[in-house]
Symmetry: C2
Subunit: 149 residues, 2 copies
């Protein structure tokens, strides 16, 4: 689980890409916060602890690369920031479900397979071949409910 340097190096080499400290450190940073959803700026701050001279452009370029490799996922919580999270190791679980508190912004992840059936159903109706889906639920978390009382 989390960060596997071995396999990351293998992936990079197999594509003729170079293994750099910047790339390893960015992926490590995202792996170290598996339950957070980091912005480019937050990743930048994390990586600067190890590589103070890194530029934000490298962060953006690396993020884009990691997305293309399928190692991280882009996430939009509609708060004005584009966020990123480490992907699931098991690529067969292709579901990123998020429960978002509209009051405090807390984000919980949850898994559910109910949607596989829906995917098939929608495919038949519309002619789409569905590969992936993303579900977000908005509401109030337990803490925020308590604080309102």
């Amino acid at each position: 689980m989390g960060y596997n340097e071995e396999s990351f190096i293998k992936i990079l080499k197999s594509k003729g890409l170079k293994v750099t400290n910047q790339r390893k450190t960015v992926l490590k940073a995202l792996s170290s916060k598996p339950d957070q959803h980091l912005t480019a700026e937050e990743i930048y701050e994390l990586v600067r602890v190890d590589i103070p001279e890194i530029g934000i452009a490298t962060i953006y370029r690396t993020i884009q690369l990691l997305c293309e490799l399928g190692l991280i996922d882009k996430l939009n919580l509609d708060d004005g920031y584009v966020r990123y999270e480490i992907g699931k190791e098991d690529k067969n679980e292709h579901h990123h479900h998020h429960l978002i508190c509209v009051n405090c912004g807390k984000v919980l992840k949850f898994d559910d397979d109910l949607l596989d059936e829906l995917e098939k159903q929608v495919g038949k109706t519309t002619g789409f071949i569905v590969h992936d889906h993303e579900l977000k639920m908005y509401g109030y978390c337990r803490d925020c409910q308590n604080n309102r009382k």
Copy 2:
């Protein structure tokens, strides 16, 4: 269905907001394209047909207002643009489901109530009170499947 000027005027007046041609025209533009998902720039172009002197700042301010009033919805298709679409007249149908072709970018809407059950289930498990949800499915539309052959 779509654009109801009467009720829009009522809503604005009830909040002490002014009824301006700019606001009416922006809402009308979004209503005229109920199945499209327009960016601020696209809305700007549409509205300029009627009001050539309008500024992009007014578009942004009006979009934000219409979102707050719940008349339009923000939508993010992860293509780098924030998009907007006219809301459903019936506020009880709070589901915006989108089927996105990853090849041509076409977006289809679909309705499904399967998720109401899931909302309740998730609420019990996590303690969240869920108000709304958003589901996106990614795949290949029928046209793009044919073109690949």
